[in-house]
Symmetry: C2
Subunit: 417 residues, 2 copies
């Protein structure tokens, strides 16, 4: 079943706002077994909206529209939909009640502009909006050759649209089109590039049954593998996909660090809690970025002690107590210094585990010996301390991110030994 | 002059990739005086591409296409363009030379697949690609009613597309359509919400001449004001816009922190360099995020010493030397503790200036007295130390970001006194 998305809003056409609505909607639809064949972005202009609706109707079975249903004068989607369907706006008691509730919660009285938000086209089914004042609108239109086309109009505000998609639109289109059972499992890998990974699992991939598809979803430093099974028997598909995941795990056990929406920061947090262990960091090139990732997890204060961001060399010496002879002999970006940093932070923070980083982030500071991108990472545990060298690229921003990812990945491996 | 953008690529329709190309292209076109009236995203399917080209031609004077011109089999844009223009591919010596150069630089020999990238439609002008192997293609097609429509096909890889747009496409369409002179100046403000700002500058805004437009570009914690002047006399417009900026400055001097593409991290870096002064941070709730922002600037190692991320209370006591009685009496999120943190870090890092933060980031840890979002920020300078309290919202992520922004803004004000 083909879906078209129409995003309405001037802010999308002047480049002020990146169209994350379209990609989020497309991903959700894809996960539910629907194919998005076109995304059209247009401004709040009646003729252009009408024209886009007419064109989309000729091509797709489902047309999802976001934007242009706010209370201000330039939001004309609702009136345009009335014209498209040859209908009129009628006052909807239930919708008005919702608007009142939202306003009462914020301590405001309903204005005339917002009262108009309770007027909906006569031929639509209103979709509740728990987090905003504009209802969604579900329309069904008979097709000439038989069957029907579904049109849904939603708010453009991302969190309102997302709530409405999840709670109403996706369940309703699944029900309307009797989609087959679909089951996804995403395997998260790090430490191996996409093409090497593909070569390693080629035989397994070629042996996948017709109804189980594999997608490679690469990100900097990470490759996600998504398995999607489709069929009539829900339980059977779950079993079959899980069996394929088990086979995959046995092929690349060293590179898998998690599943589905998991992140390294989350996984590390869980492992530290299980062990009732604490963590600290001593950061030079990452300069607080690893601390920021770790503390992005709610509850991280339960296991994370802090970070010594020793950006200047005199700080490494004076506060962390790194040997001046190590700094002179090997330089700040060295196995010796990063190892000393890890051990020093372990004592300083009284922490069980420590991540330490030191690297040439760039664009300046590179030498023939240690070009930009050269990075040392050390992990200290209660039993040992070890360090590894990496050569990342020449982008400062990416060097910081890749160092953080590698460091978290190394810590995870240490925690599960 | 209306422009339509067509982005080709399956990855955009399954939600794997967010369409940042469209927003970037739209912003650049807008800044050059062109209006984007539609963005269409479609997959690598011949009929769908052909159909989109036909539709766009009916509506727009310029059609910019990105994606689908790589070396692999599923990239069919070039063949489809030949069909659309009724022409054929011919081997282009110059384009082949470019491909060879790129391959030689990477140490590879040109493959047959990449040799085909030197074949271009006979009726196009090739646009050089310094950073990739696919040339851009510039087409002009006579319109029935007179005049011509411009079609440009570009790579989908963002940095290749951006280089080509900046170096070739934008200058060429400006030349072709003799656009008027256009001049932008963006004023960056913080510490005042959009509606309060609008009320404050209403009279000035209403008095702007017809050919100078104002746009509000809000971001979390920041409102950017963009003035755009258009006309025939380039120098005169510059003068007129600059005069309006001067008037605006006199109305809201306390809220303006910079201009155009500047960032607080950058401005602070420049001010510290001018003063030959150093900076350190002592972070609790921001936990390294401020250090990360400051060190995102190349060369920050010249003035930034480091950060003490004191996440756990025992670290605040033991390493920063915060009084246990202050922690007990006032709590970690208090004027007393954040002030002590700033002074302690000044000594510890031997730094001229210090930012210290302590707050309840959430979602847990809030009390009736100090709900989630309560944040104290202190700034220490060689002359004084002062602290301010803020009440942000209940989103952990946004609390961390807004605290960082406010802290940098406070430091900037201290540096310019």
């Amino acid at each position: 079943m083909d879906v078209e998305i129409i995003n309405i809003g001037d802010e999308l056409l002047i480049g002020q706002v990146i169209n994350t609505n379209a990609s989020w909607m497309a991903e959700q639809l894809n996960l539910s077994g629907f194919r998005v064949s076109q995304v059209t972005v247009i401004s709040d202009q009646k003729e252009h909206i009408l024209n886009s609706l007419i064109m989309a109707e000729q091509r797709a079975g489902i047309v999802l529209i976001s934007g242009g249903i706010g209370p201000t004068r330039d939001d004309i989607t609702k009136h345009t939909l009335c014209e498209f369907f040859g209908t009129r706006l009628v006052f909807n008691e239930e919708a008005y009640h919702d608007v009142e509730t939202i306003f009462a919660r914020r301590g405001y009285k309903v204005t005339e502009l917002n009262r108009q938000q309770a007027e909906l086209p006569e031929n639509c089914i209103g979709l509740p909006n728990k987090v905003g004042t504009a209802r969604g609108m579900w329309f069904e239109k008979e097709r000439k050759g038989g069957g029907k086309t579904i049109f849904v109009s939603m708010p453009g505000v991302p969190f309102e649209m997302k709530a409405m998609m999840t709670e109403h639109v996706i369940p309703r289109i699944k029900e309307t089109f009797h989609t087959p059972a679909i089951y996804h499992k995403t395997i998260l890998t790090t430490g191996i590039g996409e093409s090497f990974l593909a070569a390693r699992i080629e035989e397994w991939e070629n042996g996948l049954p017709e109804h189980i598809k594999l997608a490679y979803l690469p990100q900097p430093g990470i490759v996600r593998l998504r398995l999607t099974g489709t069929g009539k028997m829900e339980q059977l598909i779950h079993q079959q996909v899980d069996a394929e995941v088990a086979r995959l795990e046995s092929l690349i056990p060293d590179y898998i660090y998690g599943y589905d929406d998991d992140t390294l920061e989350n996984i590390i947090g869980r492992l530290l809690k299980q062990k009732q262990a604490t963590l600290a960091t001593a950061e030079s090139c990452t300069a607080g970025y690893i601390a920021h990732l770790i503390t992005s997890i709610p509850g991280s204060s339960g296991y994370y002690k802090g970070s010594m961001v020793a950006y200047a060399n005199d700080i490494k010496q004076r506060i962390l107590g790194i040997n001046s002879s190590s700094l002179e002999q090997y330089g700040a970006v060295s196995k010796e210094v990063v190892t000393e940093m890890a051990i020093a932070a372990q004592t300083m923070f009284d922490a069980d585990y420590v991540i330490a980083t030191s690297g040439v982030a760039g664009p300046d500071g590179g030498t023939a010996d240690k070009p930009v991108g050269t990075t040392w990472i050390a992990i200290a545990s209660p039993n040992e301390v070890y360090a590894k060298k990496f050569s990342f690229g020449d982008s400062r921003d990416r060097n910081i991110r890749r160092t953080a990812l590698q460091a978290l990945s190394m810590l995870r491996k240490t925690l599960i030994i």
